[in-house]
Symmetry: C2
Subunit: 321 residues, 2 copies
């Protein structure tokens, strides 16, 4: 059994190997550049941990873990184009540095190279894994489309928003765990429990992310507090507030839309507090965190095999509140 | 055994079934719209014909044929964004009609749905097929990148240009035939011969396309003659001319770059003729056409099984000269 830190170090080292040919450099340098920006590599770790729950980590699990991380990075490259994001992890996004056409194409080729790692899977479950990987990829695309649709839609219910986050973020965490477990020979019950774990983990993480944007310690969090508010981005807090707000509060929110950044942040935080959304959102995260823990509890393997996953959940969800 | 027309009708009917869920419509309507613009469906037909050379067409071959056509359409949607093309088959391109973000994303999801058809393959050769499909997809991306790179590069040799066309166009025709044959149980020699056939067919077709843009009958061809010349696009004729031209001819070409459309077309055709490129390009096409026929000859199956492929080659390469 490996600890979270051991698996993280091992995957990072392995993932640093080249994934692309050297030529044409105009296509592959941008792809290498983006992977070089780093990341927490959570999804491949979930795949490896899902696998190790049921035995020794197999070569197949390393291949799929790599595929999943490449897929995730492909989505980030394309999402950055759609979101017109200038920066990712403090560095220029691919389209900013190399142009939109190259960003589209290097994302495309990164996705295909992901499938090339899937093609290396020797397990007889390859069709099942390819199918789950595809279904998940389709859902992630749907989530991104809904996210864009919601930007311009006046009314988005909490149900709509949860559904979008589930597709855009949670299902990939869920599928990573499940695929690892399939390769480990898990039964269907354990597979489904792990899928639920991943879904709840993803939701709890996104809720925390939205919370920290408003209430996080800027020095620890490394981002400007209130960035989502200034951008007018839909978040768990905003969507819930729009459900709860009185007519007077709605008028305030509309007025704040045109206000300068500092006033907008302060004003919106006041409305959140008045609606009780600052308390509600902490409870909501706690609810999904507890559900994730319960799923882990329910996985039918001996408790000590779950240590790495426990560490990962703690790492992801114990960020400063 | 089926004729070219029979296979074409059967694939078209099958391909008209829905490939996508209905929701979110903002993602899938653009994908459906683009597929509805039609096309010759040559690549899936090659897959089916490659399969039928060696026996009865298998369900697996239909699945992969569908995947290949979806992949091809995905590349067209993304290429249209990169080429800033307003029209495709006389209708608005996806990005013109729905915006760039949706065009990126509906292309992405179309590619993934292609892989979902691959996941349905029951043959024990699934890994081999997935690998060849991936390798080909990677090459197609490389070809598109080289095409963009060459647009802004002053010197492109015939070797460079051939390599780019091979990647961008030929390898997908080649792989379509080979995958069909793998599913049919073809031996390695036959597989490789069919791959060569596809590569030569693709090159002959692209050479013909470049030729017809200059010398085609506008009423039969359905396009404005000289479109490539006006756009300053690199073609077999332009690349060869730039290799052969005298200093005086180069000066003429540079002057024509700024000239009005009609003068530019007439002037460039004069230079092509003076360099003998109008004759050379017909010979070049003939050379690749003959090589394709030779490959078909070399496939070790009884001659009558080759009838549909003969019809397809004739259909593609006997366009009015």
């Amino acid at each position: 059994m490996h600890s979270f830190e051991e698996l993280s170090a091992a995957f990072t080292e392995r993932f640093e190997n080249r994934h692309f040919p050297s030529q044409p450099a105009s296509l592959y340098d941008p792809a290498d550049y983006f992977l070089g920006l780093g990341g927490k590599r959570i999804r491949p770790l979930l795949c490896l941990m899902g696998n190790e729950l049921f035995g020794t980590i197999e070569e197949d699990a390393w291949q799929v873990a790599t595929a999943i991380e490449l897929f995730h990075n492909f989505t980030l490259i394309h999402d950055d184009i759609m979101d017109r994001a200038p920066l990712r992890r403090g560095h220029k996004t691919v389209h900013e540095k190399y142009g939109i056409s190259t960003a589209i194409l290097s994302g495309d080729v990164m996705m295909v190279v992901g499938y090339e790692y899937i093609a290396r899977v020797q397990s007889p479950h390859i069709r099942r894994i390819l199918h789950l990987y595809n279904q998940t990829a389709i859902q992630v695309c749907e989530g991104q489309q809904l996210d864009m649709d919601y930007e311009s839609r006046a009314q988005v219910t909490m149900g709509d928003y949860l559904h979008m986050i589930e597709l855009k973020t949670s299902v990939l965490l869920a599928a990573s765990l499940q695929i690892g477990s399939i390769l480990g020979g898990a039964g269907l019950n354990n597979q489904q429990t792990l899928y639920q774990l991943g879904k709840n983990l993803g939701l709890a993480f996104q809720i925390q992310d939205d919370y920290l944007d408003c209430y996080g310690d800027a020095t620890k969090f490394g981002k400007q507090v209130g960035g989502d508010i200034v951008a007018g981005k839909k978040t768990f807090l905003l969507v819930k507030t729009l459900e709860l707000a009185t007519e007077a509060q709605r008028t305030t929110i509309r007025r704040l839309e045109q206000a300068p950044a500092a006033e907008k942040i302060g004003g919106m935080l006041d409305v959140y507090h008045a609606c009780g959304v600052d308390v509600w959102v902490k409870e909501l995260k706690e609810q999904y965190r507890a559900a994730a823990w319960q799923s882990l509890e329910d996985v039918a393997v001996v408790s000590r095999r779950k240590d790495a996953l426990k560490q990962l959940i703690d790492y992801l969800l114990q960020r400063e509140f």
